[in-house]
């Protein structure tokens, strides 16, 4: 469904090539295409319209230079605009260096407030803050237990008052409790509420008045559709939240609601939350979300993830070995381990621009990697370094030792030999003398 936006735009812009300049007539199809991309990503109708108008103004009259295609030019304008819109300063969480810091979570039901509270508590504990969680959701069954369970998992105490039916009192008391007991950070989790529910909206307003938080965070499901503008605006009018948290971005939603919300309330996006594991909290990068909204994949994350796992020294050594035909099974094993460190192949490839679609239909057999690994691990050090040693009886031993068939072992050795032959060819022909694996880092 998502092909690279640039490709899409290239098609509609083909006719412009040679016209020298972007004009209202020659980019109208293109703008419609961009509008479709934004709407498919759940950007609000009105917000998309305004955005397209801005892009048009920026694009008109731009000269089409030969080194850049019109598609690339427009994509860049859009990307820059999106990044600018979603960026902005003041993204770091306001933490008082002395005294008490109170952070209030608000949002609709099921947006992920409680899970996020747990994550933020863990994050702040790591920064050596003394954190207290406050459970103010007196409505949803077992919401307080949920927060308590999370608190236990991360060793953060949870404040609650059994049987108390007044959320405002719980919030207020928790601050007193925190002060009296040496906590310097209080995270107040509240019940999910609909923005049209007057009573509950008044309640959250009262909570805010009572505890005077340094940050009020609006927690929103990244899968939210067109109505995100209405709920965000209503919450902002009522509690004047100071930041946005986008949750469930580990799914494949494009997160266009972030743009809509930014457009109506203009508060910074402070965190993105990926998944239920309590350490899957990330700082927000506007340009990545811009890419995601445009269906371009998250290339930056991919590169970073690869960098994290990619040891420069290892790469250099590998390069030397490849060049001198000394790439043995030991190196092979190292490569497999690196791949595994980088995480699921599928999720990695999903980050590659334009790959989203292709990847859905392919299933990479990660079990195959495990099998190869087990075979190599059943070889002796000597055998790994000198694969020529691998005669029939050794192969049989390896097959038995790793729980694979002799055919599997033979296949791996054959693949290894083919690879060696290929490397030999490369080196002989002399092209690509400097394959330079470091350039694999894509930056």
């Amino acid at each position: 469904m998502l092909e690279d936006l640039t490709e899409k735009l290239e098609r509609s812009l083909k006719k412009i090539t040679g016209q020298g300049r972007l004009t209202e007539t020659n980019i109208s199809d293109t703008l419609r295409e961009i509008r479709r991309v934004l709407l498919d990503a759940d950007v609000n109708y009105k917000v998309a319209k305004q955005f397209i108008e801005d892009v048009k103004q920026k694009a008109l009259g731009q000269e089409v230079i030969t080194s850049v295609t019109p598609g690339q030019l427009i994509t860049k304008i859009i990307h820059d605009e999106l990044t600018k819109l979603m960026g902005g300063s003041n993204q770091a969480l306001l933490l008082n260096p002395s005294g008490i810091t109170v952070i209030l979570m608000v949002g609709l039901q099921g947006s992920g407030k409680t899970t996020f509270s747990g994550k933020l508590a863990k994050h702040l504990s790591k920064l050596n803050r003394k954190v207290l969680l406050t459970a103010c959701d007196i409505y949803r069954p077992a919401a307080i237990e949920q927060l308590k369970t999370l608190g236990e998992q991360i060793n953060v105490p949870v404040f609650s008052i059994a049987g108390e039916k007044n959320a405002i009192k719980i919030a207020g008391d928790s601050i007193e409790y925190a002060k009296a007991n040496g906590f310097n950070t209080v995270l107040v989790d509240t019940a999910g509420r609909l923005h049209v529910d007057e009573d509950l909206m008044n309640e959250v307003e009262e909570i805010k008045k009572k505890i005077n938080p340094s940050e009020t965070l609006f927690v929103v499901d990244s899968m939210t559709g067109q109505d995100a503008v209405n709920s965000a605006k209503a919450f902002h009018d009522k509690v004047d939240f100071s930041g946005i948290v986008l949750t469930k971005l580990d799914g494949d939603s494009r997160g266009g609601c972030a743009l809509s919300i930014k457009a109506v309330v203009d508060e910074p996006i402070k965190f993105i939350s990926l998944g239920e594991k309590l350490d899957s909290l990330e700082v927000f990068y506007p340009e990545r979300l811009a890419s995601r909204i445009l269906g371009k994949g998250d290339i930056v994350s991919l590169v970073e993830k690869a960098q994290e796992q990619f040891d420069e020294k290892e790469a250099e050594q590998l390069e030397k070995k490849l060049m001198s035909n000394k790439f043995d099974f030991e190196d092979f094993l190292g490569q497999i381990k690196m791949l595994k460190r980088m995480g699921s192949l599928k999720s990695l490839m999903g980050m590659v621009p334009g790959m989203n679609k292709a990847i859905k239909n392919t299933d990479i057999d990660e079990k195959q990697l495990v099998r190869v690994e087990s075979i190599i691990q059943s070889m002796t050090k000597l055998e790994r370094g000198d694969p020529k040693l691998l005669n029939g009886s050794r192969r049989k031993r390896i097959a038995n030792g790793s729980g694979n068939s002799i055919q599997d072992v033979n296949r791996l050795i054959k693949q290894y030999k083919e690879m060696q032959n290929m490397l030999k060819m490369f080196n002989k022909k002399g092209f690509n003398k400097k394959m330079n694996l470091k350039n694999m880092r894509l930056n």
Binding site: L39, Q109, G110, P141, E145, Q146, L150, G225, A228
Partner: protein, 312 residues
């Protein structure tokens, strides 16, 4: 039969019309002073439909179909247009939920087994609370099974609902195999001679392959105890969702046969328009809609009423 006899159109209407932005006002505004349907008007309709999360493709098709039908009708006035548009929308949604049919289905198998699935925060457990209460009040013996062994306190949440509606619950321990809880629940139902079993599952994103496989396994385990089980697999979709809900439905369909949708949180200002696309592409009927936090705020789905509530 008292099943869902609280059908309350007013509540749905109230929910769907809580905002000034409601479809109907805007359509009416759109039409004020205009006798003819022109391009500009169609564009305004497009905005209204897209703003309801119906999606660009489906919106374009609906408008196109409405135009085509209008040509045949040889009339372009407001009423005809609105009527035609409504007809097109209703056509996509298919048949209304037939409670007699549902009741007959329930009577045909003992126990009748429902599996409730969906992504995190869509409202599965709350929906099960409402469903079990409705069934219980209609005189059925209900057992619920808490196969959400992952989320903190999910068990306790379902337990509170079970106590409220006075139905039996089979609990799980955090980290236990959800399939084993599903199995235990069916065994208990067998022993107690229960009429209806409802299995709650952990919220899972459709992009997590291992969790989706787990769903397949739960499904298989149910079939092992009763060959016919599950009788119904309901996908719970948050009415606030945007276009991703269609992808969710598509992906979930690959791992289990979804027999119906339950659209929740329609008491806000979100319109739940994504259900048009799900119905259209995957031919999954909407069975119930959630319009509030109360135990009775679950209603059988009637396309005509839904569309009317959007427009009236």
């Amino acid at each position: 039969m008292a099943l869902f006899d609280n059908i309350n159109l007013e509540k749905l209407k109230a929910g769907l019309s809580k905002t000034k932005n409601k479809l109907v006002d805007r359509i009416s505004e759109t039409f004020t002073g205009k006798a003819q349907v022109d391009e500009e008007l169609l564009e305004e309709i497009e905005e209204i439909l897209i703003s309801s999360d119906i999606g660009m493709d489906t919106t374009e098709r609906i408008i196109e179909n409405t135009r085509r039908s209008l040509k045949e009708k040889n009339s372009r006035d407001r009423d005809t247009f609105m009527q035609t548009l409504e007809e097109e929308l209703i056509k996509i949604l298919g048949k209304p939920t037939d409670l007699d049919e549902e009741i007959n289905k329930i009577k045909s198998c003992k126990p009748f087994v429902l599996l409730i699935i969906g992504i995190n925060g869509s409202g599965k457990t709350t929906t099960i609370g409402k469903l079990s209460s409705q069934f219980k009040n209609s005189g059925y013996d209900v057992i619920v099974g808490s196969a959400d062994t992952f989320r903190a306190a999910a068990n306790e949440q379902l337990e509170v609902w079970a106590n409220r509606s006075k139905v039996k619950i089979i609990q799980s321990k955090t980290g236990a195999d959800p399939s084993s809880v599903a199995f235990d629940t069916l065994q208990a139902a067998k022993q107690d001679n229960a009429d209806i079993v409802i299995i709650d599952t952990a919220g899972r994103l459709h992009t997590k392959k291992n969790l989706m496989e787990e769903l397949r396994k739960i499904n298989n385990v149910l079939s092992k105890v009763f060959l016919y089980a599950p009788n119904e697999v309901y996908l719970v979709v948050d009415g606030n969702s945007g276009q991703n809900a269609l992808i969710q439905a598509r992906e979930f369909s690959k791992f289990t046969h979804i027999s119906g949708l339950i659209v929740t949180k329609l008491d806000g200002t979100a319109k739940g328009g994504i259900l048009f696309q799900i119905c259209d592409e995957l031919k999954i009927p909407v069975k119930f809609i959630g319009v509030g936090e109360g135990i009775d705020d679950l209603q059988p789905f009637v396309p005509e009423n839904y569309v009317k509530a959007l427009f009236s």
